[in-house]
């Protein structure tokens, strides 16, 4: 293969640059790539968004439909986030059931939205224990260039913010659509995830595929509008020191604040 040697050379080059405070694509260590957020891209969905983090690109759609609640969670609506790396997004991805990487991705996105309590699920109950409203938030990654976590997370949040929630009523024990009446999703806070990679002793924000290939470990931290830390996932085959973990939480808060402002704008204006 020779790939081991090549990988090592790439890592050396990236580390050399990091020592000078630089990255391959010219960014500062704690700088995100160019982020664009566009909503309403899938008019047939109840909500949708297209997010680009430079070359990483994802489209998320929200489908809203009545469902049965989970057992023992009869007083809450349903919220499910999924993700798929489309095979056209990455030459190394093959069609088939989700890999462990994709399952982790979807679950981290899901927890970021769930644990911050972004949506008040209690407001999505039609009849307790019998019928609730379900939000299915599906992300299709159409080009993969690193940090799928944040791209899917921002796209999911933006898609929810853009949602038009149809009204359902219970008639004869069954939920019936009330035509022409809609509302916004009951949003309580704005979760923002920030993903960082550790390469040697350096923490870089929003890693590219190239950086992910030679990183030691990865961390995704999601914060809410109140400046709290609400969800966290360490990944990758090495670890972090405690100091690094504290530093990462600070970066997540500061970078997150900038992103949140853009999402707030989106929420108020219906567009950026």
């Amino acid at each position: 293969m020779g790939s081991v040697i090549l990988d090592q050379l790439k890592r050396d080059r990236i580390l050399d640059l990091l020592k000078e405070g630089k990255r391959v694509d010219g960014r500062a260590l704690e700088e995100q790539r160019q982020l664009s957020i566009e909503t309403g891209v899938i008019p047939k969905a109840n909500g949708s968004a297209r997010v680009k983090l430079a070359n990483t690109e994802v489209i998320t759609g929200v489908k809203i439909q009545p469902d049965k609640p989970f057992p023992d969670l009869g007083d809450k609506g349903i919220l499910i986030c999924t993700a798929e790396i489309l095979p056209l997004a990455d030459p190394n991805v093959e069609p088939g059931p989700p890999t462990e990487d994709v399952i982790e991705l979807a679950r981290v996105v899901d927890r970021g939205i769930r644990e911050t309590e972004m949506i008040d699920l209690h407001q999505l109950v039609l009849k307790e224990n019998k019928s609730v409203i379900g939000l299915f938030i599906d992300s299709s990654i159409i080009n993969a260039d690193g940090n799928l976590f944040d791209a899917c997370s921002y796209a999911s949040v933006a898609a929810i913010l853009s949602c038009t929630v149809p009204k359902y009523e219970i008639k004869d024990e069954a939920p019936v659509l009330v035509e022409g009446v809609t509302s916004k999703a009951p949003v309580q806070t704005l979760p923002v995830s920030v993903t960082m990679a550790r390469i040697g002793d350096y923490i870089v924000v929003d890693p590219t595929t190239e950086e992910e290939a030679c990183m030691d470990s990865r961390i995704t931290i999601t914060t809410n509008s109140e400046g709290n830390i609400c969800a966290l996932q360490k990944g990758g085959s090495n670890g972090f020191t405690v100091d690094q973990l504290v530093r990462c939480s600070e970066i997540a808060l500061s970078v997150g604040t900038k992103i949140r402002k853009r999402l707030e704008q989106l929420m108020q204006d219906g567009k950026e």
Binding site: V41, I42, P43, K44, A45, S48, N55, I59, T60, G61, V62, K63, Q65, T82, E84, L86, P87, L88, A89, D90, P91, E94, P95, P97, F136, D138, S140, I142, N143, A144, D145
Partner: protein, 238 residues
């Protein structure tokens, strides 16, 4: 039940019987794919990405004598009214097959033995005629990938609605109309490479419908050509 056509022959979306929906094609929209295209065809929003010719995995599928073509037609869960399960349905598997067989005559696979060309189509939003739109995007994406082709493949459906033969059946017409006939062809070679029919046509209507679809394919071809020209010549590239 929607009224599908006015007495003046105006269809439910305002088109005349021989009118195409709006079509726009963008070439080279995906960074990682070897070739790609994005099509909006009415309310269809579809991406096509190409990888290859490249090594075959798993290896035992490789053919010593020829390249092989694989195709996946897939719908995102949010692409249709009721959320679609992400696992491939029997319908998607069949459409993947007919799309593959519609593209194959345009390729010269014998020139690339032991390799595969992968065509991945993602329907982000589905409307009537998604398989035709998918094919239109896939053919352009193959060209964008620099794969030698005998001809483009251009696809468009015709059908029967309110007792009249119409071009380019939309979603409502597909659901409640009388017939839907998706057709794909190599426009210069003059060969029909995809054809299906669901619905009831007299033998005369069958011929008219086929000719109508072919007319549509030819107009789609011009749009495909223009999209490729725009990328490769107007921008001064190549």
């Amino acid at each position: 039940m929607t009224q599908l056509m006015t007495e003046d022959g105006i269809r439910c979306d305002g088109r005349r019987v021989d009118e195409l929906r709006n079509i726009s094609i963008k070439v080279g929209v995906l960074k990682n794919a070897d070739g790609s295209a994005y099509i909006e065809f009415g309310k269809n929003k579809i991406l096509a990405g190409i990888f290859g010719p490249r090594d075959v995995h798993p290896k035992h599928m490789a053919n010593q004598d020829t390249g092989i073509l694989r195709c996946r037609y897939h719908m995102s869960p949010f692409s249709v009214t009721e959320r679609k399960n992400p696992a491939p349905s029997r319908r998607e598997i069949e459409i993947s097959k007919v799309i593959k067989e519609a593209l194959q005559p345009a390729l010269i696979l014998k020139d690339f033995p032991r390799t595969v060309i992968d065509v991945f189509v993602e329907v982000l939003q589905a409307d009537g005629g998604s398989r035709c739109a998918a094919l239109d995007a896939a053919a352009v994406a193959l060209a964008d990938a620099g794969i030698p082709m005998r001809d483009l493949v251009s696809a468009c459906a015709a059908g029967k609605v309110a007792d009249r033969i119409v071009l380019d059946v939309n979603n409502e017409e597909d659901q409640e109309g009388q017939a839907d006939m998706p057709v794909a062809m190599m426009p210069n070679v003059g060969k029909i490479t995809l054809m299906q029919l669901d619905g009831i046509l007299t033998p005369e209507e069958y011929k008219t419908c086929l000719q109508t679809a072919i007319g549509g394919c030819k107009r789609v071809y011009e749009i495909q050509r223009k999209a490729l020209m725009e990328k490769y010549f107007q921008n001064g590239e190549q």
